[in-house]
Symmetry: C2
């Protein structure tokens, strides 16, 4: 055990929000408030931007009951950002500013909750603080609905999004088969380079009624094959439900949706979307059938009302463990999940992986879990996702509507 | 009490599905199976089309446990249709065919579950059977997420859709405010001529966080005012959440979305949709801000996973009452809801209204419940909707996914 390090901590949320990122926030904040080594708990407004802008909320000032409601409050309650920091070796302006803020508040612990890019940010800050000899323990807490984070079996946020997607696809499947005329429905699901979310729609097909066809970014998309697949199912059943990942791409790597928009987000990623209606128009022109495009849009990443209890518990435990480890002396690691399947029963252990090993790698679906026709998923994928969506949380409600945390957000 | 009428019954589902239309189906089917006057219970495949096509499922053959699962199964389990029948005075072909089928199966009870157009169908069949002297008791069971059915305080299906919309808008509101840059989000909600559903998004604003602006088809839409409203909120808060009904229209009556599509459904209504992205593009061009359009699409009418328990109970009771009344001798009526507010507590009584009085009228939101700026709703609207979304049903699940009814659908 390392020597006791006494000081304040900063916690920040980064990247796209999820249904359970605030459960991790609660794991960090609650544990930090209770840790005697941590003198003050600050929440950064909009992630690392809040540190750079000296905009920190004092979590010690919050009502503990409201903080607890973070377990069921979707989105990033402290605000998020997509700010990409330079390499400190190239431009250390931001890092010098962060150091200044850390010194101002005697910050000795930094916890950052996010995906690939955020772990990269986290890693750079950790390296910089070490290089200038400022003692600060830096820990990453994983988060992403995309489930593409390297070094961990899965990511908090994914299970709840997968549950929403599977349930919604069951409902859409029921609805889209209701009339006595033909109908083709195309559902667009998030996932830029990894198809975990779109693949999760397969749960609906396995356990009720769901997509007949699923297209993922792990394989190359072929428009002619797509038309042929749809026409085959259409002629057989008169109804077709198709799930497509927003990130499907041709063999040359170009996104199928690419023609639709040229906007990019702060990290230079193409902003996707509108794919469902584009494909719907193409299929309509090709088949003459009635075709509907549905984009699950933001709904799939913020649907706390149908979150997975397993996901909430794991998100919370990851935040909690990050603080416990840091207090014990660990730094430069991300909390990760290691799956155990004893007697066929799912159990998850928390482990630690070096931040450097997770940053900027993307974990994709193994090709062996995708069917040979590249239009569906295999049992292995179902077995992987199913444990992650289990359990119905007791959602705090008022007037039968969700009651979210109402934080005071007192500035330091 | 009329004389006992012994014979079979046919039950049919019509129009757009809802999250609870099958709860009404269960109310009809269960009560009819238990009624000694009713010798056989047939479910028509795809509503009146199933009668015309002699495609009837024998409900007596179903497993009672599976039938009970209809309480939580979204969409129209027997199939629906949008088939418009001619006036029997003009063309009685369909009616002669229906009479033939009624005679073939000794059908003495006909229950039809739907909205305005379906009550019209129901009324025509009732009048025809009377005119030819065939004794058959015809009862309508109300259903429509649009809540525009005349003669009833509200409609089964509306409460659950309103709950989904309010909850989703709370979640979207949380999600769309997460970044530190400006953001305008436009949510498109169903409702062709009546804005009850879009107005229900106001619950999110009243009880948490929801739309800043709501536009309804009850008032004329003005694009310049729309831009001005959005810019005002944007400059104040940097974030704007807007809810629009798909049926918003200009002062000349033309739909704002009209330019987008010329397709029509079977009743000659324009098929709307794509409005959110159209408005998003216009607002983006006007403001230069980041704008996102979200269409709630089918999801809002099939989200049984977040149904209102009140809605399920009322849907069931309406179906049950229709059968009980018919057995007692009533015919030519629709079951309706009469709201009681004793001591400020909501209670609903079932009443009967003549089919002729409900058919083809559309009930809209009173203008007094819409704010003077025509961009939001007043307390009266909230007070009206709130009781209808109350209660969380115990959803039957398998693997944490909904377990829907699996009917055998044995043909007669």
């Amino acid at each position: 055990m390392s020597k006791k390090l006494i000081g304040a901590c900063i916690f920040g949320q980064s990247g796209g929000p999820t249904a359970v990122i605030n459960a991790s926030a609660y794991g960090v904040i609650r544990t930090a408030l209770d840790a005697e080594e941590i003198t003050k708990v600050y929440g950064a407004a909009h992630g690392i931007r809040g540190v750079l802008d000296d905009k920190l909320y004092v979590m010690d000032e919050e009502d503990p009951k409201e903080l607890e409601l973070l377990l069921h409050t979707p989105s990033s309650e402290l605000g998020s950002c997509r700010y990409k920091m330079a390499d400190p070796e190239v431009d250390d302006t931001d890092y010098r500013r962060i150091l200044e803020i850390f010194k101002k508040y005697n910050v000795r612990y930094f916890f950052y909750n996010g995906g690939n890019d955020s772990m990269d940010t986290c890693n750079k800050i950790s390296r910089y603080m070490e290089s200038v000899g400022y003692e600060c323990r830096v820990m990453g807490v994983p988060k992403t609905i995309d489930n593409d984070l390297f070094g961990t079996d899965h990511c908090p946020g994914f299970g709840s999004a997968a549950k929403y997607i599977a349930t919604s696809c069951m409902e859409i499947s029921k609805d889209s088969r209701v009339y006595d005329n033909g109908m083709i429905t195309i559902v667009e699901i998030m996932g830029r380079h990894a198809g975990w979310l779109a693949a999760s729609s397969g749960l609906a097909s396995y356990f009720g009624s769901g997509p007949d066809l699923i297209y993922l970014p792990e394989t190359d998309f072929d428009m002619d094959q797509f038309f042929a697949d749809i026409e085959r199912v259409y002629h057989k059943n008169g109804k077709v439900l198709v799930a497509v990942s927003e990130g499907i791409h041709y063999a040359d790597g170009s996104f199928v949706s690419e023609a639709k928009t040229s906007a990019t987000d702060g990290f230079g990623h193409a902003q996707l979307g509108g794919l469902a209606s584009m494909l719907a128009n193409l299929v309509k022109a090709k088949t003459g059938a009635k075709v509907r495009g549905i984009e699950l849009s933001l709904l799939q990443r913020c649907a706390a009302h149908i979150a997975s209890e397993t996901d909430i518990e794991e998100a919370y435990s990851a935040g909690k463990r990050a603080v416990e480890e840091a207090v014990k002396g660990t730094t430069g690691y991300m909390v990760a999940f290691h799956r155990q399947m004893d007697d066929g029963k799912y159990r998850c252990e928390l482990t630690l992986v070096p931040l450097a090993s997770t940053a900027n790698y993307e974990k994709k679906i193994p090709l062996a879990w995708i069917n040979d026709e590249h239009n569906g998923v295999k049992q292995e994928l179902i077995d992987y996702v199913l444990p992650l969506i289990q359990g119905e949380p007791a959602i705090p409600r008022e007037h039968s509507l969700p009651r979210y945390a109402r934080l005071k957000k007192v500035l330091a």
